[in-house]
């Protein structure tokens, strides 16, 4: 299923279910790296102590991936406008605080590094893109915007189980993520205005993301794919329309996301929000 360490252009690549992706970033030996959704731990009882630790552990690694993507993008595109590079540098710093906060909370709940398998899908997909707008579109405008939706709902869920401390941590992280999505939205618009061909590159990148999703989360006979389960739980938590607006998605874009999430009835009035903050 997985073939590793093909080296091209100084980078290494892996093949998952026949699909070529960037090899995983370095991790300590204590971590087990999953290559597909099926290899991740899935705990049926959503807020058992173990499930809570798994969520924090997974989130901690996702933030580590966000740090790595922002930092590597900063290193890979030295000719990018300085103001955009400053945004990426700031994002890298923000992600470090998220990692530290989540790690602290994980330890407080009795967890530890390497307790559960981790996946580096965001890195492996985003780093396949050789242009900066495509990386911003995938990492910031898609993955981080999706995280805004999740965090908007999860804050409430952690509060409901009495864990205010984790809820507040997620609220802090969410505030930062809005900035990361907003600067990507602003810069993509600006770059597209300067060069319309960039839109085509972004479209190609988004198609690549869709294909990569299918490769990493293939449907298993007799049940929906793990990825479709993830999307269902994502949408169950709601679309964080308030923060999507804060991040400067247009009403038209928000309506499209609501349609995709099965909340078509809300799209007539974009003043209504579905977030659970």
């Amino acid at each position: 299923m997985t073939k590793k360490a093909d080296i091209e252009d100084g980078n290494t690549y892996k093949t998952i279910n026949g699909f070529k992706l960037r090899s995983d970033p370095a991790r300590e030996a204590c971590f087990t790296i999953a290559q597909t959704d099926a290899e991740m731990t899935r705990i049926d009882e959503a807020y058992s102590a173990e499930a809570c630790r798994e969520r924090l552990h997974r989130h901690m690694n996702n933030e580590t991936g966000s740090l790595e993507i922002a930092a590597q993008t900063l290193a890979d595109f030295p000719e990018a406008p300085w103001e955009l590079r400053m945004e990426l540098a700031r994002q890298a710093y923000d992600e470090t605080r998220h990692i530290e906060g989540l790690y602290q909370r994980l330890c407080e709940l009795g967890g530890f590094k390497g307790e559960f398998p981790i996946g580096n899908f965001e890195w492996s997909v985003t780093m396949m893109q050789n242009n900066l707008p495509a990386r911003l579109a995938i990492q910031n405008r898609t993955f981080e915007a999706g995280e805004m939706d999740l965090l908007g709902g999860l804050r409430k869920e952690w509060r409901l189980i009495g864990d205010t401390k984790t809820a507040e941590l997620l609220d802090d992280i969410l505030a930062d993520e809005v900035n990361h999505v907003r600067f990507a939205n602003r810069w993509i618009k600006r770059l597209v205005k300067e060069d319309g061909k960039i839109l085509l590159r972004i479209a190609v990148a988004m198609r690549f993301l869709s294909d990569a999703n299918a490769a990493v989360s293939p449907p298993i006979e007799g049940r929906a794919s793990d990825h479709s389960i993830d999307m269902a739980s994502h949408y169950k938590l709601g679309v964080n329309t308030t923060d999507r607006r804060n991040a400067e998605f247009t009403d038209e874009e928000i309506n499209e996301i609501l349609k995709q999430s099965g909340m078509k009835s809300l799209t007539a009035s974009t003043n209504e929000t579905t977030d659970n903050g």
Partner: protein, 182 residues
Amino acid sequence: MSVKIRAEYIGTFRWIEVYLMETIAGWIASTPEMEAKVVLGRHVWQSAQNADALGKRAFELRKPLHYSVAPSTEYQAFLERIRSIEAASDRLAGFYKGVLPGLVKKYQAYLAWTNPLMDEPSVIIIKNNLAGINRMVDEFNTFAASPDLGSFQNSLPSETDTYEAFLAAATQAELIGDTAHS
């Protein structure tokens, strides 16, 4: 020191800060320890802020915004040597024990040369940058001393000579090449 020469130094310091930012940003994904990634990510932002302040000051000294000047060939070669180190522990040691303390000495030399009144805006920026660099070194030392990172500590170069060699190279290399004075 003339305004023209000051601008060359400010532009050179900016070039170095950007180079350092790019260097450690490029190390994060290939460094295994999560805590080391965190330290490096924090310092990417510090170096970016240092560079940003210098770039704005260069504009005040009759140069383009974010004016940058490559340092001497010798100094560049030193920085490239550190960037190319493969082992995570060796490159972190080279950066925090050699490059940064060496840069501190270069900044301090500038403060000793310049006119503290007429060039006070540069002095303030450089003092801020020095405080930031000292924080970076302190944070690295705290990280490297963490009892949870025994395996990382064991992989750090143990010979003081290694650090001193890095620092000596960082200190001895001339900052400004001939072109800056032309």
